[in-house]
Symmetry: D2
Subunit: 373 residues, 4 copies
């Protein structure tokens, strides 16, 4: 099922190629009166040869976003904003507030001592911490403390609230949510916690303590929810695992040494609508290009490098965020010859897999590298 | 997680309630310059209390559509149209050619002796035959003959082509596809068959002969594709099964005697993105109202009745098509006191289940019946 | 992992080859005193090159068993016997009352008007009816009427009782149980119904009416037990399905046109410890030989033929029962040139699959046919 | 389905209660001539009220076994023995060389510099290291180094060989295998490696490096074998995980702080036929008694305590091995008031679960503690 690339549809038997006539135009008007239409007027558009995302590749520099995010601290109160977030909006997806495809992302800031009220919603959320040491979140009663490089989840339907208990400056973390997907499927619900705040359990990061060493605790066999009971993955353990993996395995030709944050009870993605990965590019490593269905939001966790997306170069350094639309060619390079670089990413791959939409293709020419402009 | 209903967000702690000021407007412009925005300006809209579909409940009368569909026979050739289809377009979903939610449906007409070329696409398709005796389709090499009331599938990625080998008039069948879903997820592919036509196997309706009697044939254990190897469900067996079920079980309070067309190898839905049901309403039966996430396209297969959707009455008879948007209250009644009525339907429930989006609620008041206008 | 066949172990490096000495014998005695032993004294025996079943191939002629079974009617009362059953016992498995491997089978007789009390047990049971028209069984409250050629199940843990409500002679049916397996795993439980009898629901064969036409009824998605909710498969539908399958498919080279009785909710075997098949041999068909792990009990449902098992010929006709031990070569032939023959069988294949023990091999030589003595 | 306990069967309607008569004895002889029997002569025995294991509770003291194991070093060469192992044999299971139920265990010794040849078999194996620092094993090409307290697996069908590359004394490790299960199901195969030895990959403990931090590496989604790709669990990480779990969770009332070694790709047991656990008893902790189907072999990994099994006290200390037969009441106590104690165990629970045989019951009386003799 290799796509044949773009070409003029009107020369191909099997594509619609009807020209307008006065008679047909009258017919189309008659159809429109009855909430109907002629398929052949839109067929080639709605059944394209291959994906035609409205999303463009974009890179947001952390150095440029950070001052804007900090400015929000003074401009709006946390209570009035609900959450004080600068969201990143793809120029092709402003109608649905998406960064790419049906994925939302934003940078949230919390000043020292601030806290947000508790709510829950159908949309699933994840966090990746950029800076600050006092961040905490309570997810269905479990208090988590998270620092730079940590990854945490707030699965669909869980009560959650968060804040900054440090005193040495604001916390900035990145939110990732599937809000546009939830809305596209008309499935959104939202609730404010009846008491505005939860009573957390006594043990902080309990799920991190519970799921270590590739052992599953008593009771795990009864876990029946569609998401991971492990709620946070600290940076130190993640980076150590990537280093171990780098010693033991070659990795992917397209992504370097890459691993998926995993639901320990199933071996599957952390949530049913969003997956997340961390990848390590060895010093100087330049991967080969591939493309796949599914959209990805990348955040630079360590180092500096460049990614080529749809033929366009995007240099990046720590904290930068960039997106790869579905079916866009992409490849990554670590520009440091002596240190590794790490990219955190989240994606809609679990959706692609569940619905049978996953497809991947390697870039065959030019030793696997795209020509760039 | 019961939603709290609609109310003014600006009075609720936990919702965004920031008023515009000149300073903020300048800030918003600054954000827009960097492909960013302030979440609190859209938060209440993109995280609603409960689903806010753009789709409206609509009923299309077959008596009105049929002349329009037949007119297409003369207006366009099959070759030029690709497929000669009058699609049903929800007034709120014209941008994506959807009948409801992310589901497409249309009425396709084929004159005696006509046939269409073969293609395949990522979108999954299903058929429900309205009239005509000569319809056939070839799906991945298996020829199927289908008549009125028959249900057949063309799973994602299968080669397919069809035609009318009868000589007593045109065939009209209804297509159902997940095209809007595939496009929303940027996952669409399309291919014309290299030979324009397939070579079918010798046995017609082979999969129907193969999967009978609740037995699975040799080799079925190796079936690894994400859809049903059984491709068609003839009306006679389906109706007999519903009658048997009506004798043995009470059925659903909301849907009467209802059963799902099933993948015999897994017991799951026929395809990963669309499910299909047939339901029988006993003579005079009026079901209670409920609502659920997920969109549904109904087609009246037998009898006459009325459905109340979001408080609006939609009387129906055989051949009529109507839609229920996500989270809209709905209930059905058979208006014939001596004969049963049957509704065929297809839906996106498999998507709702895979993504953890399924939710349902019974209408509690007034003995389960909505007030109507 | 092709086995290397039998050969002298003491010439092979990697096998135990320790000769007894007085010193070693003293050592073995010392070990025995402490409930211990030396592995190398038994290693070659307990880790054979390939399976070494204690079961032999056996065929029981129905013509010979039937008078013995009928005699039991007069010799013991149903109440005293619990169940009046002549069990078939493999000469190599008398210690565990097995017909082959860890499978039990027997012929049960019930006189007109007789009924048995209700009980339940961990062991799973199945029935295949040989003769008589009045047989019934109640399984967890569902009354089933079964006639010759019908297959029914009594899954592990379900209350069940049965009887003969006809007045034209006794019923003889065949029981199949996994009792020896349950005992080998120390997992057997048994309970007499507190009221000695169940109150059946009003609808006879309700599950047969409920699961037809490859549709699943409302509520089926909530079925969580590890066995089929469909409890009986009447002969007529089974035979019709086999005939349809014979038209549409070639079948298996080893088994002819064969299909497995299936749990409609999962597409899996009817119970977690025993599967069942019906196979049709076309007129004159002689299959090729293969062997596999797993034990099988066959019952001739129709026609006459011969099976060659481990090189030994077993001619059979309707009602005869024969067994194939694990890893024994076997092939089947229909000796009638104008009519088909049918073999019912039950097996422990679900156990083989669950535990990762399933292995199969085709007989390569002599055009797939074993030499016979 | 609570069992009713033992009682006289002949007083219960629903149990067999036929007395021998000359006429019946003649009948039984006639049946025996035809490889048949009367079910009612064995029914009460083969369908007991509750499990009747032939296995007894047994404890083997490491202090007593160790000299016997070391003696084997001098008595037989590794090449002649194949593996130099003292197996632990339950007095009720000598016929199948089982330690309990269908589980085999033994203590294997390898002198400095020794190595064993490579083979593979259907039986699955696991190791728990008692003493010595030079142990290694190669499993399907991956070299593992294992030390005291480490757990490693050799899944069914994998090539494996092992040895001792240390120079400071012999290695003693404990083997656990499902040999009796494999034989009970007539499913055993055995092969010597054609080259007698494998060529290991360059990275030692590669799978341990690969599966850390609750991340799954690139390629893990394609793992399709029925066992864990992670092959070893070092003691340090396991103990740390148990300590973390002890901080975060209460644990089981019957087993203290217990966790299962897990296949990271599925969240299931490490192999389809055997599971393994490590449990920590807090200082002074005494658990409550329960019983369950399934057999268990325990090894004391740390500390000292006592277990009560079927009313019998078994004091233990580090290195001791004891077994709990299916459905035997059992409870554990740590006799040290200041340090924790750890029990390693392996079991047939995966088999119990796959076959639907798992059942558990808490000891209700006497505050959960059995009376002891």
């Amino acid at each position: 099922m290799t796509p044949r690339g773009t070409r003029r549809d009107d020369t191909v038997l099997g594509r619609a190629r009807v020209s307008d006539t006065p008679e047909l135009e009258a017919y189309y008007a008659e159809l429109a009166d009855r909430e109907a239409g002629a398929l052949w007027t839109v067929a080639n558009k709605i059944e394209p040869w291959y994906p035609q995302p409205q999303s463009a590749p974009v890179l947001w520099r952390y150095a440029e976003l950070r001052p804007l995010v900090r400015k929000a601290l003074d401009l709006v109160s946390a209570d009035d904003a609900g959450r004080r977030v600068v969201m990143l909006v793809n120029p092709g997806r402003r109608d649905v507030s998406a960064a790419v495809g049906l994925l939302y992302t934003g940078l949230q800031i919390m000043g020292p001592g601030e806290s947000m009220t508790a709510h829950r919603h159908q949309a699933a959320a994840l966090r990746f911490v950029h800076e600050g040491t006092g961040a905490w979140t309570i997810v269905d009663g479990e208090k988590l403390r998270v620092g730079p490089g940590d990854f945490a989840i707030t699965p669909n339907g869980t009560w959650h609230e968060h804040g900054n208990e440090g005193d040495d400056g604001p916390v900035i973390w990145q939110d990732g949510l599937d809000i546009p997907l939830v809305n596209a499927l008309d499935a959104g619900f939202y609730e404010v916690h009846p008491d505005l705040h939860q009573q957390p359990g006594k043990v902080v990061n309990a799920s991190v303590a519970t799921y270590g060493g590739n052992l599953l605790p008593y009771g795990a066999e009864k876990w029946a929810r569609p998401y991971s009971p492990l709620l946070a993955w600290p940076w130190e353990a993640t980076y150590a695992a990537l280093r171990g993996l780098a010693d033991a395995a070659e990795g992917s030709p397209y992504d370097g040494v890459i691993a998926e944050y995993t639901n320990p009870v199933t071996g599957g993605s952390v949530m049913p609508t969003m997956g997340a990965h961390m990848q390590l590019l060895r010093p100087g490593q330049a991967t080969r290009a591939h493309r796949h269905t599914g959209s990805v939001v990348y955040t630079v966790a360590k180092g500096r490098g460049v990614s080529v997306i749809a033929g366009q170069r995007f240099p990046w350094r720590k904290g930068d965020i960039f997106v790869v639309p579905s079916w866009a060619w992409h490849e990554h390079a670590n520009l440091d010859d002596s240190d590794d670089a790490c990219l955190f990413s989240f994606d809609d791959f679990p959706v692609m897999r569940s619905l049978g939409f996953r497809r991947e293709e390697a870039y065959a020419d030019n030793d696997g590298h795209q020509p760039t402009l």
